[in-house]
Symmetry: C2
Subunit: 272 residues, 2 copies
C-alpha cells in the first residue's frame, strides 16, 4: 500500500485522456499532472531539445513525491525509448509498451498501423517495440501532425468536415498495406477516433495508447501492492508551465467533464 500520488506528464492537454482513464479504473489514487504548455508542441521538435524538456518535467514530478510516473505524451515516450531503463528510482511507464502489447494481441493478419506526430513516427518506437514482441508483424507508421492542431482548435466531432478531409488524406497512406489494427500513438487522437474509425472501417481495431497504458499501470500497481487504500476519491493536482492558464482550464474542464478551474497552478519548469 502506498498513499503517494501518481505523476502524469504530457506536453499539454492531451495527457488528460490518460488521467480520466486512470480515475475510472483507480478512483482512490491521487494524481499529479504536469502539462508543459509553455513549450508545446513537442511533435515537431528535435530529439535533443525534447530530451532536455522531458528531463525537467520528470524532475518536477519526482520532487512532488509521487510513487510512479506515466509519460502520457506519445512524442516524449518515443524519445525516451532506449534512454530510460531499470535505473529509474520509481516505477516509470511510457505509452509505448502497453499500446504495442495491445496491438500485438489485436492483430490477426499481422499488419499494424501507427499514427502519431512527426517525431513519434520518425523514431519508429512503436514499430521497434512490436518487433521485439512479435517479429512477424509488419508495422507502418504515418505522421499526422495536423491532427494535434485540429484537436487543439476544437475541430472535433464526427461531422467535422475539415478534420475528415485531412484524415482521409493522411490515412490513405495505409490503403495498400492492409492493416487490421491501428495504434493512436498520440494522446490527442482519441478525440477524433470517431472520424478515424469511419475512414478505416469497422474491420480495423483502434488502439488508444493512453487507455491501454492506464489499464496496464493499474494492473502493475496492484501487483506490486502499491495501490492507495484510502476510502475517499483521489484528488488531481494540475500544473502547467505557461502562466496563461485560462485555456488549459477551459478545455481541460471539457476533457475531464468537471470544472478544473481553480485547481490549475503554474510552475516555472526552467528551475528544474
Amino acid at each position: 500500500m502506498d498513499r503517494r500520488g501518481i505523476g502524469v506528464f504530457d506536453s499539454g492537454l492531451g495527457g488528460l485522456t490518460v488521467v480520466k482513464e486512470l480515475r475510472k479504473i483507480m478512483p482512490y489514487e491521487d494524481i499529479v499532472y504536469f502539462g508543459d504548455t509553455a513549450r508545446l508542441p513537442y511533435g515537431t521538435r528535435g530529439r535533443d531539445v525534447l530530451f532536455s524538456y522531458i528531463k525537467q518535467s520528470i524532475r518536477f514530478l519526482y520532487e512532488k513525491d509521487v510513487k510512479a510516473i506515466i509519460v502520457a505524451c506519445g512524442t516524449a515516450s518515443s524519445v525516451l525509448v532506449g534512454h530510460v531503463g531499470p535505473e529509474m528510482p520509481l516505477p516509470f511507464w511510457t505509452v509505448i509498451p502497453a499500446a504495442s502489447q495491445a496491438a500485438v494481441e489485436a492483430t490477426v493478419n499481422c499488419r499494424v498501423g501507427v499514427i502519431g506526430t512527426s517525431a513519434t513516427i520518425k523514431s519508429d518506437a512503436f514499430g521497434r517495440e512490436i518487433g521485439k514482441l512479435a517479429p512477424m508483424i509488419r508495422v507502418k507508421g504515418v505522421a499526422c501532425p495536423l491532427f494535434v492542431n485540429l484537436v487543439e482548435n476544437g475541430y472535433v466531432g464526427r461531422d467535422n468536415e475539415v478534420t475528415r478531409m485531412v484524415a482521409r488524406d493522411y490515412l490513405s497512406a495505409f490503403e495498400d498495406f492492409g492493416i487490421d489494427t491501428l495504434i493512436l500513438g498520440c494522446t490527442h487522437f482519441p478525440l477524433i477516433a470517431d472520424i478515424v474509425g469511419d475512414i478505416m472501417g469497422e474491420k480495423v481495431t483502434l488502439i488508444d495508447s493512453g487507455r491501454e497504458t492506464a489499464k496496464f499501470v493499474a494492473a502493475e500497481l496492484r501487483e506490486k501492492g502499491l495501490l492507495n487504500d484510502q476510502q475517499r476519491h483521489g484528488n488531481v493536482s494540475y500544473y502547467v508551465s505557461d502562466k496563461n492558464m485560462g485555456e488549459f482550464s477551459m478545455i481541460g474542464s471539457i476533457f475531464m467533464e468537471e470544472h478544473i478551474q481553480g485547481f490549475v497552478r503554474h510552475v516555472d519548469i526552467n528551475q528544474y
Copy 2:
C-alpha cells in the same frame, strides 16, 4: 553609410517573407535572421513567456553587431507594443506601425479588419495603433490560429480545399462589419493570401504586414544614411534555436526560392 547587417527575428520560418522583401528592395544589405524554432509557436503563449523569449532573441541579434532589428513576427510585435521605446540603442521596428499606416491609407469606408494569432488579436496592438493614427477608423480583429499550422504543414495553394474551408469559417466573422481593408497580421498569412483574397472579394485590399514593414524600413534607413554602399549582393546568415535544422532548410529554401541548406546554423538561445 553603415555596412553592418540588419537583424530579422521571427518565431520560425514566417519572417523569411520579410527577408525576401528586404532583399528585393535593398539587395546590398547583409541580413542576420534568427528563427526561434525550438520554442515556436508564439501565437498561443502567454505574455510573460513571450516577453522573455523575445528579449533573448533581441540580445542574440544585438550581439551579432547589426545596425537595426526588425521583429517580423506579428505575435512578438504585438507583445512589444508599449514595452519598447526610444531607449533602444539601435533602430528597431515591429510590424505594427508600417502595416497600420498602410491600412489607414488604404481604407475608404474606415472599416479595417485584422487577422492574426490568438495572442496578436487579444493584444489589439493593430487596433490601438490605428486608433492613434486615425481615431475615426473602426477595427475588428479575428484570431485565425489554425492558419499557422496549415501553412506549416504545406496546406497552401489556391485550390487547397481544407484551408479554404477553414478560411471561410474564420473570415465569416467579418460578414456584418463591412471592411474594405484587411491586415494580414502574421508572417505566415501571405502564403495563403490568394485564398483569403478569393473569400473576401476584390473590393477588400489585403495589407501584407511584412512587406509594408520592409518598405518602411528601407525608407527609414535611407533617410538616416544607414544603407550599405558595398557593390556586391548582401548575404543572409540564418540561425535557428532547434538543432533539427532540416525542415527549416527545406521549407526555407522554398520560401526564399534559393537553396539555403548549409547556411543555417544552430544557436543555443537559452544562453542569451
